[in-house]
């Protein structure tokens, strides 16, 4: 007995020692939150427009053959009527417990339960179980398919989109889903004002302005959205300009279709600013009403749990879990121990350092990588960086291959350009920057910058899906840069404690950041990085910044998918050979982990997993 106790204690001490370091590095809400992505992708291969429906488009003949009708921004096509909607559960084994509760750890509290105002993953995770959109991403992919729409078609110019609304679907308050309800939702989103407009961040990021919104100069803020009209079973959405992002945008959880009756009854738009935060109406805190497989039951703030129950009237395959509980456990080590103790059956974004041990004791679900980490340059303060040779020298100086192999989880790849391979327009035919310190020194000498000093910033107190351990990244690359003679002034700051502010204020010359894709369009990556006039790289301070911005906008506005992809290929080549606003480092697959007796969850590149059809086996 005493021997056994001693051994347990020893094991315990060893384990506690192992977690000591992690204890202080709190897994912040931010660390998980912004992986929220939910995206959709233009598959581009769902069959030519002509095959799948009323083409009304020269697409097939104009090189768009093979462009995805189901995909976003493939104008003039029709999406195949999707099996869409709810995923049919995989073969349900005999020992599956269909009355089970699936408890998943959340890293933080949700903001509320109205996805329109959601900005983080902890808000979107429960929302995805209760709400559905017109379209969604196919399980396990970033490809688009219909969901509450049975199918959809677009006009040749890509400005008018007709969504045939699925019949027989009701909201959880018993009211029917129809084209009027869909248009009510889109008009509601577009009509946000005041605090609601500030909080509806995924509208402003993707659609642009709100109805009647003016900027500080009094100019109207342009919006992609124009109108939505109910026409029988169809909701006809008109947009102001063609963008490759539409209709992929509609797969984001913020664009979920909610019950108009409940929205009105519980004053869903009544968001108010209060001090440095926002307050939400009863709809968002206690009465979220969607069409999804789960219903909201309770948010027990005193116990830190959110409980959803099976929607027995769900239009698709019923949930295979009776109850879904999100238990708030902010500390990552505590989440891991809760899984080991059996208190929870899953959690998101386990530390890659734990992957091997988790593979033995649980099911580790590795997602396809859909993110990018980069070393950004800021052109404003250090004029040396305006010389292309200096920027290329930095790229040659970084041993990205070794870093990815030794520091990132399995499946990670060196990034050759500014978005992952699976996104349209990616090409291997860009200028390559293999590790070559001699070439780096030579370029620095040619630029007359042998005594170059750079301000290098890196973040602490954070992990991101694309950057599991910022210190490792900094350590590797600072050594590489110093090895070619570049002197570094190093600044490290907490992510929410000055790092992001510093980058936005353009204090660093070099900084580490990244992005998890929302849907499969190049614009979601490079448009987000470089299109704003005050972007982090200060590209508008360079002679080529405006041209670069225009090239991004031009590519996004080409309705013909093949031509658009070609434009992005050309742009990617130019970015990597002429612009080099930074060095893309890697795409890294994040993971989630569930208990051994849990199956049926398909890891999504967009963190868009469906827990409602998880299979929990007894015994």
């Amino acid at each position: 007995m005493s021997v056994r106790r001693r051994r347990l204690t020893a094991v315990g001490i060893a384990a506690a020692l192992a977690v000591t370091t992690a204890a202080c590095a709190q897994s912040d809400r931010g660390s998980d939150s912004n992986s929220n992505a939910n995206t959709t992708q233009d598959t581009g291969n769902a069959g030519a427009a002509g095959e799948s429906g009323p083409a009304g488009t020269p697409a097939a003949g104009s090189g768009a053959a093979g462009s995805g009708a189901a995909g976003s921004g493939a104008a003039g096509g029709a999406a195949p009527s999707g099996s869409g909607g709810a995923a049919a559960p995989a073969d349900i084994p005999a020992n599956a417990d269909l009355n089970a509760t699936f408890t998943f750890a959340a890293a933080g509290a949700p903001e509320m339960f109205d996805p329109l105002y959601g900005t983080d993953g902890e808000t979107f995770r429960p929302a995805r179980m209760m709400f559905e959109g017109l379209v969604r991403s196919k399980p396990g992919t970033a490809d688009l398919e219909p969901q509450l729409a049975e199918s959809y078609t677009s006009s040749p110019d890509g400005l008018t989109w007709t969504f045939k609304i699925r019949k027989g679907v009701t909201f959880s308050d018993g009211t029917p889903l129809n084209a009027e309800a869909v248009c009510y939702n889109l008009d509601r989103m577009y009509s946000q004002t005041g605090a609601g407009a500030v909080q509806a961040e995924y509208w402003s990021s993707n659609m642009g302005g709100f109805k009647g919104q003016k900027d500080s100069a009094g100019k109207e803020v342009p919006s992609i959205y124009k109108s939505c009209k109910a026409d029988g079973d169809n909701a006809v959405i008109t947009i102001n300009r063609f963008t490759s992002k539409f209709p992929a945008i509609l797969s984001l959880p913020s664009y979920s279709i909610q019950s108009p009756t409940a929205l009105k009854k519980y004053k869903a738009n009544d968001v108010k600013q209060s001090g440095e935060a926002f307050t939400y109406p009863a709809y968002a805190t206690a009465h979220p009403t969607g069409t999804g497989p789960m219903l909201f039951q309770a948010y027990d703030r005193t116990n830190g749990t959110i409980t959803l129950v099976r929607n027995e009237k769900y239009w698709g395959p019923k949930a295979t879990v009776a109850k879904l509980v999100f238990k708030i456990i902010p500390d990552e080590t505590a989440r891991k121990q809760a899984l080991q103790a059996g208190t929870i059956q899953g959690y998101d974004l386990p530390n890659p350092a734990d992957w091997d041990s988790l593979k033995e004791s649980a099911n580790l679900l590795i997602r396809p990588a859909f993110n990018i980490m980069y070393l950004g340059f800021d052109f404003k303060n250090n004029k040396a960086l305006q010389d292309l040779k200096v920027r290329q020298a930095i790229a040659y100086a970084l041993n990205r291959e070794d870093f990815v192999a030794s520091q990132l989880p399995e499946g990670a790849e060196v990034a050759q350009e500014w978005y992952p391979k699976t996104v349209d327009g990616w090409t291997p035919d860009v200028q390559q920057y293999p590790y070559d310190p001699e070439k780096a020194k030579q370029l620095l000498a040619e630029a007359g910058q042998q005594n170059l000093t750079l301000n290098f910033w890196w973040p602490t107190e954070v992990t991101r899906p694309y950057m599991p351990n910022p210190k490792d990244v900094f350590t590797s690359f600072s050594q590489d840069l110093e090895a070619v003679g570049i002197k570094l002034n190093v600044t490290s700051k907490p992510w929410n404690g000055g790092y992001l502010d510093g980058v936005t204020a353009r204090k660093p010359d070099l900084f580490l950041l990244g992005w998890t894709g929302d849907y499969n369009t190049p614009d979601n990556f490079i448009g987000s990085f470089f299109s704003s006039e005050s972007n982090d790289f200060a590209t508008f301070e360079t002679p080529w910044g405006k041209t670069f911005d225009q090239e991004i906008a031009d590519a996004d506005s080409i309705p013909d998918k093949a031509k658009r992809d070609a434009a992005y290929v050309a742009l990617n080549k130019k970015i990597m050979s002429e612009y080099m606003p930074g060095v893309p480092i890697s795409s890294s697959p994040p993971a989630l982990v569930v208990a051994k007796n849990v199956s049926g969850i398909v890891p999504s590149p967009l963190t868009d997993e469906d827990y409602t059809h998880a299979i929990i086996t007894k015994g």
Partner: protein, 335 residues
């Protein structure tokens, strides 16, 4: 006595006003802000500007302070942005307070019930096995960091042995909420399973949190009893032929308790600090966990209320300790 209490409470108000001013400016001078925490890397600079403007963070800091004071006068302590987004900070404070009080009481009970008797008997049998063991354990208690002990206890008793829960205040159980004190609620509503479940959730965090106070109180009790039992008045009492129990109760324990009460009061303050780590490790949704989340995400409204509340607690506990001297030591009462 009453005048003394009123004077002390008046001091408390002044201290709070000064503290609120310092706190307001200190928080806003910290790098980062709630807009960074909300935006992460995803906001465009324009969105960030709009957010800062909507939150009033673009206004001069004195304007912000005056607005803040104006809201406080109306009883509005702001809204939590992260701990429980969208909920008034005061409401978050009140519904998390029972959790932390419940945990603190459990930790104090653990510390006092063990430390005072053990400290007393260790002193009475100085040099015995009990004494030596007690001294070593108490040394460990003050040397081992709270979070280390918390992870260790959890690993052994929750993860490996599955004897006790690892996190939270209650499992997936139908429980009626009445006071917010889960154990008490279970007893009031006669939901025995809920009360038992809540109690099981308290055991490990209470031990982790109460271990330092246990160690400190044990050492003070032991030292104090050793000092007191060698005092002349104890020898006089013995020579008068008083019974051992009378000597223990009236002459040793009572006199030895003065420093113990002082230290216990100070330890209540230490418990609040320890609760930040303990509640984080055990995912226990109390004020300690709220403090950690609020600081990390610059939840100004919550931080303001949490720091002010802990200042009030410290000062009230000190007041109670001072008053308790009068109860224990009649010489102070007469002064």
């Amino acid at each position: 006595m009453l005048r003394y209490i009123v004077r002390r409470l008046a001091q408390l108000v002044v201290v709070l006003l000064i503290l609120s001013l310092l706190l307001f400016f200190w928080l806003r001078l910290l790098p980062g802000g709630p807009d960074s925490a909300i935006c992460g890397e995803r906001c465009t600079p324009e969105q960030r500007t709009a957010l800062r403007s909507a939150m009033g963070l673009d206004q001069p800091i004195w304007t912000q302070y005056l607005k803040y004071l104006g809201r406080i006068v109306q009883g509005d302590f702001g809204t939590s942005g992260f701990v429980e987004p969208g909920v008034p900070a005061l409401e978050v404070f009140w519904h998390r307070l029972p959790a932390t009080i419940e945990l603190t009481i459990a930790a104090l009970i653990f510390a006092l019930v063990l430390a005072i008797p053990l400290g007393y008997f260790a002193a009475r049998r100085k040099g015995s096995l009990l004494d030596s063991t007690g001294v070593v354990v108490s040394l460990l208690g003050v040397a081992v960091p709270v979070f280390f002990l918390a992870y260790l206890l959890k690993f052994v008793f929750a993860v490996k042995l599955h004897w006790l829960p690892d996190s939270g205040r209650q499992g997936d159980i139908n429980a009626t909420r009445v006071t917010g004190f889960f154990v008490l609620d279970g007893l009031i509503t006669r939901e025995w399973d809920a009360a038992w479940d809540a109690l099981k959730h308290l055991i490990l965090p209470a031990i982790a949190l109460g271990f330092i106070p246990f160690a400190v109180i044990f050492r003070i009790t032991r030292g104090s009893v050793i000092d007191v039992q060698n005092e002349d008045y104890v020898r006089t009492a013995e020579s008068k032929g008083l019974t051992t129990s009378v000597i223990r109760r009236r002459h040793i324990l009572r006199n030895a308790m003065l420093p113990v009460v002082t230290v216990t009061g100070l330890q209540v303050g230490a418990l609040l600090a320890g609760a930040v780590l303990t509640e984080t490790v055990f995912a226990y949704p109390g004020l300690g966990q709220a403090t950690q989340i609020a600081f990390q995400n610059r939840d100004y409204a919550m931080l303001q209320i949490l720091v002010l509340a802990s200042a009030v607690t410290y000062m009230l506990v000190n007041l109670v300790v001072d008053l308790s001297y009068a109860l224990i030591d009649p010489r102070i009462r007469t002064r």
